[in-house]
């Protein structure tokens, strides 16, 4: 009986979902809102404020995709997912795209039937130690106790790294970043390991950041990227090229400030094609031709998003590093808009 009660209330709330099919774009358009799977909370990448408004580096990509589809970056429903629920949320159709600092790995791409649309942040696993321990390199961590979040790729990387270097370590299992920080501060472990971006944020939030150092070694590749379900190439294309549009926009100097101006037409044919002035690229994916204009206007180009959420001017203070444009010695390389 109670079931019916709730069904009734929910039907009333207008929450009846359309029937999912292969064409995710049609579903999203019919629904009028993009369901975006995000982290339940990760500093700089996805965090709700006191009013429940989400912001962050991953969230900005959700907004860009929504803007590309609807012309309105606010048409996103953020579905917070945990490390355990994220893949089923995507597979079951609960979310249309998963932008949840998810590492692109072989088995996730193949076995879990996900398609990664690209990499929006190149991360890698690092270590943080107390400065007074005198350790300056990860090679000196033999025999150390290491705080490590269970059930993550970082746990496996750690084992691989110590094995490859013939060292031993004592893992201290923790459940969340917050707990790991407490354990580390309390001295329960000599070193704390997680993604370098997370380490930087953690260190910056300490009362005494100068007493902790992040070791120079990066022991793993953690390419974090947005993912969609296998089998819908059109939707994959939309997410992939929205990401490329943001990256390309930075490369060609298109910013949220000048995109309106440039969208009237420029000397650069690549920019014209990107912004839909010529070429009619948008129609090829089932989007309006000015899709990239909206995506860029949502939060700016890749560089603007980076600077606003996790860059050096924010408290997290991450340098571009690998995430610089290929012209600047980084790995960001947008495929040609042609």
């Amino acid at each position: 009986m109670k079931k019916t009660v709730f069904f009734g209330a929910l039907a009333a709330a207008g929450l009846t979902a359309g029937i999912a099919s292969a064409a995710t774009l049609d579903d999203v358009k019919a629904r009028g809102v993009l369901n975006c799977g995000v982290n339940t909370g990760l500093v700089g990448f996805a965090a709700p404020d006191a009013n429940g408004n989400w912001s962050g580096f991953d969230v900005a990509l959700c907004k860009a995709v929504a803007a590309a589809v609807f012309g309105d970056p606010s048409k996103v429903k953020y579905v917070p997912t945990t490390g355990q629920t994220r893949f089923t949320a995507l597979a079951s159709g609960e979310v249309d795209v998963l932008v949840r600092n998810t590492t692109w790995t072989f088995s996730r791409d193949t076995d879990l039937k996900m398609d990664f649309a690209g990499v929006n942040y190149y991360d890698g696993q690092g270590f943080m130690v107390h400065k007074d321990s005198g350790i300056t390199s990860a090679k000196e961590l033999d025999g150390a106790s290491v705080c490590i979040q269970t059930g993550t790729t970082t746990e496996l990387n750690l084992a691989d790294y110590f094995k490859a270097n013939g060292m031993s370590y004592q893992p201290i299992a923790i459940d969340s970043n917050a707990e790991g920080e407490q354990q580390y501060i309390a001295g329960a472990c000599d070193a704390y390991t997680t993604d370098a971006s997370g380490l930087a944020a953690t260190r910056a939030a300490f009362a005494d950041p100068d007493n902790h150092i992040i070791l120079p070694e990066i022991i793993s590749k953690e390419p974090l990227g947005p993912a969609v379900r296998h089998g819908d190439s059109q939707w994959l294309d939309i997410v992939k090229w929205t990401l490329y549009a943001l990256i390309a926009a930075e490369e060609y100097g298109v910013t949220s400030a000048n995109v309106e101006e440039l969208a009237k037409g420029t000397e650069n044919p690549e920019v014209n094609r990107l912004l839909g002035v010529e070429g009619g690229l948008g129609a090829m994916t089932g989007l309006p031709n000015d899709w990239a204009v909206h995506a860029i206007k949502a939060g700016g180009n890749y560089g603007e998003i980076f600077a606003a959420t996790i860059g050096e001017s924010t408290p997290i203070g991450l340098a571009r590093g690998l995430n610089a444009q290929w012209t600047q010695g980084g790995l960001l390389y947008a495929m040609p808009f042609r």
Binding site: T40, T82, S92, S176
Partner: protein, 438 residues
């Protein structure tokens, strides 16, 4: 002889002396201390040891509490204020995070302009449960108690009022059908009471609803389940689970005692299966596995899914608690009921259950308290319960990254209030229902 002193006696007391004040050691606080804390060497040692532990705890935590800062915009600012006031290296609580984000602890991401709705539902909850808890109150209030679940659902989830009203009408029709047929056959009446509402909901509700909605579109802003969080979520799950698991538990307990093979087998299997599986496993089933079974795109509300499984889980425990109460009743009570010529349901309703439930009160309330606390486990399926998910989200804001103990203290205190209340009520109930047979 009294009053007449013997001539040989040198002195005879004529008045009783007033009682002396007992020596300082044998009265008041010293006496209590001597008797309770220092009565032997072993006790003295334990007392001193206890005092030492107490000192350690207080000296460790008191500064942290006393140095608490309520007005700040970020953890860094908290630290700065503490350092200014109490010197470098002083530790202190940053209660400012509670001050800044208390609405999230209470409501999750419920739209802030609609906070009055959960608050109203919460206040009405007390009105609704008061007549159940206190028999002194007018019995007419029970009608509101019956209507309350629908009122609360409409207030919390919002949307059009008509589907909720249709549900109420369905129940009313069922009750009516039962009334009309009860005189002829109780079995027929029970069947009709179930069938009529179901038929009404499946065939008539849709058209009537659309007509009513087009004529009188009475609706409030809908709020999706994903935006529920904090104590709002914990109380919705806890109260819903409690309200549904008690009747279900009673039915299961009776089923397990039944002579009918099928019913007994089903009850035993259900109870043993649910009790044998961890709650988290059931929650994962609710959140993940059901998604695979249901057709893709089906939006089977996550709170509803979780609530159903929490209910089933606690019903299995309640059933066993009540079975203990049934087993504790003397055989004579059952035989007396038979001797009076009562049928099964009358015997249960008038003689067996009132006594069995009274015996089971402490166990039932323990189960409820446990279930209310277990609602925090929904963090594993990505719902924003107040203990872990909400603090984690708040810590994702750089201003509050690094805040750790304050949310635990705050949330723990609120949970304590609720659970202590439940516990005191159960003691009151036991005292009230106490019948000294011996």
């Amino acid at each position: 002889m009294i009053g007449k002193p013997s001539p040989t006696a040198p002195f005879v007391r004529k008045h009783m002396l007033p009682a002396e004040v007992p020596p300082a050691r044998a009265s008041g606080a010293p006496k209590w201390l001597r008797e309770n804390l220092f009565s032997s060497w072993a006790n003295t040692a334990l007392t001193l040891f206890g005092l030492f532990i107490l000192y350690l705890l207080v000296s460790h935590f008191a500064p942290w509490f006393l140095h608490g800062v309520w007005q700040a915009d970020s953890l860094a600012q908290c630290r700065q204020i503490i350092a200014e006031r109490w010197g470098e290296g002083a530790s202190g609580a940053c209660w400012a995070v509670i001050r800044a984000r208390w609405t999230q602890f209470l409501f999750g991401f419920y739209p802030s302009q609609l906070y009055w709705r959960p608050v109203l539902a919460f206040v009405l909850m007390f009105v609704a449960i008061a007549p159940v808890l206190f028999t002194q109150l007018p019995r007419k209030m029970l009608w509101f108690t019956l209507a309350y679940p629908l009122v609360a659902i409409w207030l919390l989830w919002g949307g059009s009022i008509w589907p909720v009203a249709m549900i109420a009408v369905g129940f009313a029709l069922g009750a009516l059908a039962y009334r009309l047929l009860a005189l002829r056959s109780s079995l027929l009446a029970s069947l009709a009471a179930i069938a009529v509402p179901l038929l009404f909901w499946s065939f008539l509700t849709g058209p009537i609803d659309s007509v009513l909605t087009s004529v009188v579109p009475l609706a409030i802003q809908p709020v999706p389940s994903r935006e529920f969080g904090g104590f709002l979520l914990a109380i919705v799950l806890g109260l819903g689970g409690i309200a549904m698991s008690l009747p279900l538990g009673i039915v299961l307990a009776l089923g397990r005692q039944s002579d009918m093979f099928l019913i007994k087998t089903f009850s035993v299997m259900f109870i043993e299966f649910i009790r044998g599986v961890p709650l988290i496993a059931l929650l994962f089933v609710a959140s993940l596995l059901l998604n695979y079974f249901l057709p893709p795109g089906t939006n089977f509300d996550i709170i509803l899914r979780v609530m159903i499984l929490v209910t089933l889980f606690s019903a299995a425990y309640i059933a066993e608690v009540i079975r203990g109460g049934l087993a504790a009743l003397p055989r004579g009570q059952y035989e007396a009921a038979d001797a009076l010529g009562l049928d099964y349901w009358k015997a249960q309703r008038l003689i067996i259950l009132p006594q069995a439930l009274k015996i089971s009160i402490p166990g039932i309330v323990s189960t409820f308290i446990g279930m209310f606390k277990d609602t925090t486990l929904v963090t594993f399926v990505g719902l924003f319960e107040p203990l872990k998910s909400i603090p984690d989200t708040i810590r994702a804001d750089f201003a509050w990254k690094g805040v750790y103990w304050e949310p635990f203290v705050f949330v723990g205190a609120i949970f304590f209030l609720f659970n202590f209340g439940m516990s005191r009520y159960s003691m009151y109930l036991e005292r009230k229902l106490k019948r000294d047979y011996r």
